[in-house]
């Protein structure tokens, strides 16, 4: 059984490789170990494989070589393993991906009621608690498209939190937002970081990285080029590629 060997680490990538089609080698020999409660920010130029990397963790993308173990479960074609992992992993998308035909409250109670088999009343109480946490409870009965982008993303975070995940994945959560709304989303994420949940966040919000990340990972061309704590990564990048990237995003 693969469930015992990899203790201490919440997520382990072991020489993981992935291709799109035959020619696009999107992840190359990824080795990465994420400790329980660790908060990681992943950055890098577009097309570098950051999103694909975190999407492998809940099997939205499948890797073709290497081992990927999440909370003691190895991800492979076993559907039960995938289900087990998805119960532990919440995800927030760049485009929110709220269900537009359901109200905010229904978006939050859907999975607890249908997957978790909670009675409606209990699911709604828990959902309202999460909405309070992201400070948006008064919008519970509106439809997603009636909210601003920042509000929608906070709902999406609350929806993921309803499943009490051990790991949260953020795929560029603020990239689709108006500048004035970025802060309200980051504030919610920072508050969440204090609660010991394991977080992996693809983002270019360097202020957020400095404030909460334990480790910053820089990727380029499907590889992890450099990883370090935020202070050292920003002030003293070691690799030429990361220096170049940082000079571009911090340069103005």
């Amino acid at each position: 059984m693969s469930e015992t060997k990899t203790t201490h680490s919440m997520i382990t990538f072991d020489k993981v490789n992935k291709w799109y089609g035959n020619n696009f080698h999107v992840l190359r020999d990824i080795d990465l170990s994420v400790a329980k409660g660790e908060r990681i920010v992943i950055c890098g130029p577009s097309g570098s494989g950051k999103s694909t990397l975190i999407r492998c963790i809940n099997r939205l993308e499948e890797h073709q070589q290497g081992r990927l173990v999440v909370d003691g479960t190895e991800l492979n074609d076993d559907v039960k393993a995938i289900d087990r992992v998805r119960k532990e992993v919440g995800m927030v998308f760049q485009q929110f991906n709220l269900f537009p035909h359901l109200t905010v409250l229904e978006n939050l109670t859907l999975s607890p009621m249908w997957v978790g088999k909670l009675p409606k009343k209990e699911a709604e109480e828990k959902a309202m608690a999460q909405l309070n946490r992201v400070r948006i409870a008064e919008q519970a009965n509106k439809y997603p498209l009636q909210l601003s982008g920042g509000q929608q993303q906070r709902v999406a975070i609350a929806r993921a939190l309803c499943l009490k995940p051990k790991i949260m994945l953020f795929d560029e959560p603020t990239s689709a937002l108006d500048p004035e709304m970025v802060k309200e989303v980051l504030d919610v994420m920072i508050a969440m970081a204090d609660e010991g949940i394991t977080m992996l966040c693809v983002t270019h919000e360097m202020g957020f990285a400095r404030a909460v990340a334990d480790r910053v990972i820089f990727m380029d061309q499907g590889q992890i080029v450099e990883q370090n704590n935020p202070h050292d990564f920003f002030n003293n990048p070691q690799n030429e590629r990361s220096k170049d990237f940082l000079s571009k995003i911090l340069g103005h």
Binding site: F93, W114, L163
Partner: protein
Amino acid sequence: MNTTTFQPIAARPAPANTSGPLAWIKANLLADWATAVSTLVIGGVLLWYVPQILNWAFVKAVWLPSFDACQGKDAGACWGVISEKYRLIIFGRYPFEEQWRPLVATLILTGLLVLSCMRTCWKFWLAPLWLVVLAVYFLLMYGNVLNLSKVDTERWGGLPLTILLASLSLIMSFPIALLIALGRRSNLPAIRSFCTVYVELIRGVPLISVLFMASFMFPLFMPQGLQIDVLVRVLAGITLFAAAYLAEVIRGGLQAVPKGQTEAAATLGLSYWQTQRKIVLPQALSMVVPGIMNSFIGTFKDTSLVTIVSLYELTGSMKLAISSDADWMPFIMEGYLFIALIYFIFCYGMSRYSQWVEKQVNKSKLR
């Protein structure tokens, strides 16, 4: 540096009234010389023809079921043919003195159809109610119980048959179409190819040939002694035919649901069927309501083709009623206009219902 305070400009009403009948005429009928000319031409044509049509259809029309009056030199439309033959047109070859049975049965069925269209009635009891109503319907129509004489399905006809064929084939084709549409997007190659072949095969042949096969060829392949009623075979044919077209309409909707929706559902742990039922289908179907209704209306009118296998639904029974009577045969045009009106009433009702459904499902999109 001085800071200035932001001073919002107060909102003002829109400029002076640009609406009203005169403005409308100017904008829509006489905007420039080309519009003015076309207004005049179309107006002239209408002025010339509309009075003639009204004159023919109403003023000079003969309403009495009198053959002689219709022969008059100056007579307009001969609506007498309808007063004379309406029972044959509407009920077809169903035995004349028993025609109260299809009337009652169809009223019950239509009543249930209307109920099923209302949101307040979308409860669990609707399904058993349908079974009860269908049972009552067939007992009434077929008879052979409780002093009701037996009437074979081949004598059923007219509007009741049209409504029966249309409603049953629409209700049955919808779930089949859903499965075919989902199947064409399945990850499993066997299911995907089966559904694709099904759609392409059905779309590749005309409904007439499907009906022909259902009616004449299918019995040849059945084991001796096993007979399936022609009505059932034709119903199956229309259902399978309608399902293929409907499946493609639904597939269009499925493709319009962004991939992020299924991804989000997957991260929330929903299974394939939960995702389809709760997330994908509600959005997909609400996007293709007009297309679905298009398909439904098409199927409703396609039922007129069953005449070729000797089932006389509304169109067939009208032709049978009028052309079998040499006296009235010249007035078959009036017969066609009469059933056209009946078809129009049903189709327009379906169309209005579709608009209501669209409003309902679009509520979540209103800001």
